[in-house]
Structure formats: C-alpha cells, structure tokens
C-alpha cells in the first residue's frame, strides 16, 4: 500500500464533500433529528420513571452514529465513483483495492468523528447530557468495536454493489437499519424474544450497548460478551474483505468495472 495513493483518494473525497452541500449537510442532519426525537421522548419518560433513560437513549443514539455513519459512508463514496463513472479511470491508475478501501474507511471515520463530536456538544447543550460520564476506556473500546463492525457492513455493501451493480444501491442506506433491532441499542438483550436474542447475542454491537448500559445503570459489565465481540468483529472484517475481493474480481471478469454501472 502506498500512502500517496490513499491521500489522493482522501483528497478526492474531501473535494466531493466541500463541493456538495448535501454531503456536508448530512453530517449533522439525521443525527440532529434523532437527537430531538429521542431526547424529547426520554425527557418525558424520565418524569415517569426512576431509571436514567435519558443517558440510555442518548448514549445509545450517539454511539450508534459510528455504525450508521461509517458503514453508510463507505458504500456512498463507492457509489459516488459508480455514479460519476469514475471507477474506469480510477482503476487504470496504480491504485489497489486495499488502498481505495483504506481511503474510504478513513474518510468514513473522519465524518463519523465529526458527527460524533457535534452530537456530544449538542446533547450537552440541549439536555445537559455528558457522554464522558462513561469511562474513557469503555468509550474508546465502544467506538473501536462499533467502527470495526461498521467497516464490515460497509465492505459487505461495497461487495454487493461490485457484484450486482448500482441497482442494489438502496442497501447502502437500509442495511444498517436492518441490523439495529438486533443490536440492543435502546433496550437490553433480555427484552428481546428468544429467537431474536439468539441472533442479537452474536452481534458485536449488542456487546457494546449492553456494557454501556451496565455502566450507566451501575450494574456489572459483561466482559465475556465484549471478548466475543472483538473476535466476531475481526472475523467479520476478514470475511467481508475476502468477499469484497471476490466481488471485485468478479466485476473485472463480468465487465462491471469497465462499464461502471
């Protein structure tokens, strides 16, 4: 991998971001809407309950940004190259798939961090909610695990786009939301029906949100679940990387890369 080629891609993504108002706008728009809806709802429910629901909902929502933003951005920046038929020119340069994906992941991470920081500031200003009540080590671990998971999702969507073309681009926006119900972002694992628990227990995201809730409510942390999350995250990332490579090779065989559609 060569840094100058990753930088070149990052420069392109930066140009796309500054040239398109919607790409700046969407850093905060949807998270802000969520912040209002969940924040106001939590405020109301808190009056009815002793439990710290505000911290639970807002903490979950702000951390979910990493899964949503980073995963979606990977797919959207790849789609951007499809929309502008730019893969043709890109892959006639010395760039490698790994360099392209590294640049996309870094850009997704930068945008996630931007959204994350804005949300933390707004949550503090609007609801006096301080995310840093969660110990820094746990917060960093949560961000790390959620980012790894989001990259896997991003790689999966990219692999599907490389395999089937732009016609499945709706997945770029929807796949993260299909995962959310099984991630226990806003409710404990125990609240799910049996069959759903069986799925959710294997999701790295569940481990993160279960433990964040444990800290907020002062209950013991589940380290076994966290350990399993690390293994699952890494395994998923490896599997998705192989899947993407296979899809990329297929795109070169089928002509999709040359046609860019």
């Amino acid at each position: 991998m060569k840094l100058h080629r990753i930088n070149a891609q990052l420069l392109k993504f930066w140009y796309i971001t500054i040239n398109r108002v919607d790409r700046i706008f969407d850093i905060v728009y949807w998270p802000l809407i969520d912040l209002f809806v969940w924040g106001f709802a939590s405020f109301y429910i808190r009056q009815l309950s002793e439990v710290n629901l505000l911290s639970m909902f807002l903490g979950g929502m702000i951390l979910w940004i990493f899964v949503w933003r980073a995963g979606q951005d990977i797919a959207v920046y790849i789609l951007e190259d499809f929309w502008s038929k730019n893969l043709y020119h890109l892959y006639t340069t010395p760039i490698r798939l790994s360099e392209h994906m590294t640049a996309v992941i870094v850009m997704g991470l930068i945008r996630s961090m931007a959204t994350f920081l804005v949300m933390i500031a707004l949550a503090w200003l609007m609801y006096a909610f301080n995310l840093f009540e969660i110990p820094v080590l746990m917060l960093a671990s949560a961000i790390f695990l959620l980012s790894l998971f989001s990259w896997s999702i991003g790689l999966l969507v990219t692999a599907l786009i490389m395999r089937f073309g732009q016609r499945i681009q709706v997945l770029a926006w929807s796949i993260v939301w299909a995962i959310q119900p099984f991630s226990c972002v806003f409710y404990p694992l125990a609240a799910l029906p049996g069959w759903a628990q069986a799925i959710a227990a294997w999701m790295p995201t569940t481990a993160v949100f279960e433990n964040v809730r444990a800290i907020i409510f002062g209950t013991p942390m589940n380290y076994a679940l966290l350990g399993r999350a690390v293994i699952m995250d890494l395994a998923l990332l490896v599997v998705m990387a192989f899947l993407l490579k296979a899809s990329f090779n297929h795109a070169k065989r089928s002509g999709l890369l040359a046609r860019g559609d």
Binding site: K2, H4, R5, N7, A8, Q9, L11, K12, Y15, I16, N19, R20, E80, D81, S84, K85, N86, Y88, H89, L90, Y91, T92, T93, P94, I95, R96, N249, K252, R253, S254, G255, L257, A258, G260
Partner: protein, 314 residues
C-alpha cells in the same frame, strides 16, 4: 521488447445464459514509438481489448505484456508508466478540472503537480475552465480534460479509445496534432481506436482490422488500401457515350453506370491498367469533358471487412 504484446487473447461474456466470445484468439505486438490502430465495426472487440490492457477486465485466456511485464505480476511498475483516455467516461463531474487532475497526479505520484497541470491545460486550451466543475463543461471540453488526465504521467504506453468522439472538427484536428506532437517528443507507444477512418489513417503507423472478435488483417493503411483492387473512374464525354460504353465492355471493364454523357466503370489498380485504358480512350478519339478517379479508401476497406466477416489470415 515490444511495449504492448498480446498473445492468443480470448474474452467471453455470459449473455442470456450463453457465453458469447467477444475477443477470439487475438495476437498482435505494438512496436516502440508506434501508433497502432484497432479498427472494426461495433462489437468487434476493440474496446474489450483496450479494457483488458487497461486492467479493467480479466481475460479468459491468453497473455498480455506491457513494457515487457505481465501487469498482474508487476502492477505498480506497469500502471505508473501507462495511461488511458476515452471520450465515453469523463472525469468526476462533481470535481473541478483542476481538482480532478490533482487527484490523478497524486495517484500517479507526480512530483511537480502544479507545473504539469498548467502545462497540460495550456496545451489543450483549457486554462480558462480550470476552476469549473466538469459537470458544467461542454462535451468537447470534457473529452480534452480526459486527455489531460491521459497524459498527466507522461505515459510510455497510451491507450486511446475513441478519444475524439464529440469534438468539433477544429478541436478534433488540434487534438490529433497534440497526440502527434506528444508521440513525436516522447517515446510513447499508442493503441488507438476510432470510427473516423481519416483519423486512423493520419495517426496510425499500422492498423489491425477486427471483426467478430478476430483480427482480419494487420498492415499499414497504404497496404490495406491495396487490398481493394479496383478503383472507380467516372468520365463525362461530349458525345458518343454509347460507343464509349461498348468500347469499355470490349476492353473487359465493368461498367457500373451509363447515364446520358456520364459513365462510371471500375478498373484494377494493377499493371498500369488505368493508364493504358485512358490512353486507348483518347486514341479512339473520345473527347472527355470531366474525369474523376476514386481510389480505394480505408473506409472501403472497413466496409469490405465488416461485410465479409473475415478475409485472409493476418
């Protein structure tokens, strides 16, 4: 060493549950500093060959070597020294001309990025639009921006796929001149495809004719034109046109049209046949008022090969 070597290349695609062979056992070599043309009707396999060489498509079988290397084994070395340009895929329309070129300059690891971009924009008369988004450019400007990208790394191998499509005649001529100048001052081998025969004839040292995925013939434009033996002669006489028609028939010539005072006939280009025929016509006392000789063009060759489907082996 040949800058481009293609040996027994085969590529097929699945179409409606069947495999359709698009490139069928194609072999050719492009010499150092040569502009090599690929000609053929739509679907002949020209773009597929370019895409395989560009690294966008994988071949079913066969071997390609660029600058003496198999690209997949020496990816970076090969890709840094070659480039591609096509009118069909403009650069990113969200970015400005300058932003696009900066990105590609970095991808190729160019050191003096600003100077290189200034030079290319000046050559292609695009300096005035450097800050404009590609989206807002005319199709001719977009094509030239793509050509700028094609030359940004001073390639030793340049693949030009229909790179002048959509350009007005003035800009197209300027573009051809730029290609010629670049070719003259750099050690660059080019693979060139176009549907404009005059362009291919003007630029290419040798031409490969493709039809249905196979190479029908490889030769210079001059030699290819000699494959059509007959030239068409149109003469107008003041009088005795019927007698002239009969005379031409007795000479064994094929009269294509005889109308009023105009007669069109075919005569072979070999053995000074035209010269001898014209001498005989004058000797017989026919007085010509007009004469037009239509020599075979590359266009005729294109049509001949395209319709015949195949001809002699290369």
């Amino acid at each position: 060493m040949y800058p481009i070597e293609v040996a027994e290349l085969v590529k097929s695609f699945r179409q409606k549950r069947k495999r359709k062979v698009i490139v069928d056992d194609v072999s050719f070599k492009v010499k150092k500093n040569e502009i090599f043309g690929l000609l053929g009707p739509n679907g002949a396999g020209k773009t597929t060959i370019i895409n395989i060489l560009a690294g966008l498509l994988t071949e079913d079988s066969g071997e390609i070597r660029i600058l003496g290397h198999r690209p997949e084994e020496n990816w970076e070395h090969v890709r840094n020294r070659m480039n591609v340009s096509t009118a069909y895929f403009p650069l990113s329309d969200v970015l400005t001309v300058e932003q696009n070129l900066k990105v590609y300059a970095r991808l190729f690891g160019i050191k003096n990025v600003k100077e290189k971009i200034d030079e290319l924009l000046s050559i292609f008369e695009l300096s005035s639009v450097r800050k404009q988004r590609v989206l807002k450019l005319s199709s001719g400007e977009r094509t030239r921006v793509t050509l700028c990208k094609g030359l940004i790394n001073d390639p030793e191998v340049l693949l030009l796929d229909e790179c002048t499509v959509g350009l007005d005649p003035d800009i197209a001529e300027k573009t051809r001149n730029i290609i010629k100048q670049y070719h003259k001052h750099h050690d660059c081998s080019m693979l060139f495809t176009s549907h404009y025969m005059y362009e291919v004839e003007e630029l290419c040292n040798r031409i490969a004719f493709l039809n249905k995925g196979k190479i029908v013939k490889i030769d210079t434009a001059e030699n290819l034109k000699r494959l059509i033996k007959n030239q068409t002669v149109e003469i107008a006489v003041k009088e005795k046109s019927r007698e002239l028609k009969e005379f031409l028939k007795t000479e064994g010539l094929d009269v294509l049209l005889a109308r009023q005072n105009t007669i069109i006939f075919e005569v072979t280009s070999e053995d000074e046949k035209l010269y001898k025929t014209m001498n005989k016509i004058f000797a017989k006392g026919f007085r010509l008022t007009d004469l037009h000789i239509q020599k075979p063009t590359l266009n005729d060759i294109f049509i001949k090969f395209a319709r015949e489907g195949k001809d002699e082996a290369p």
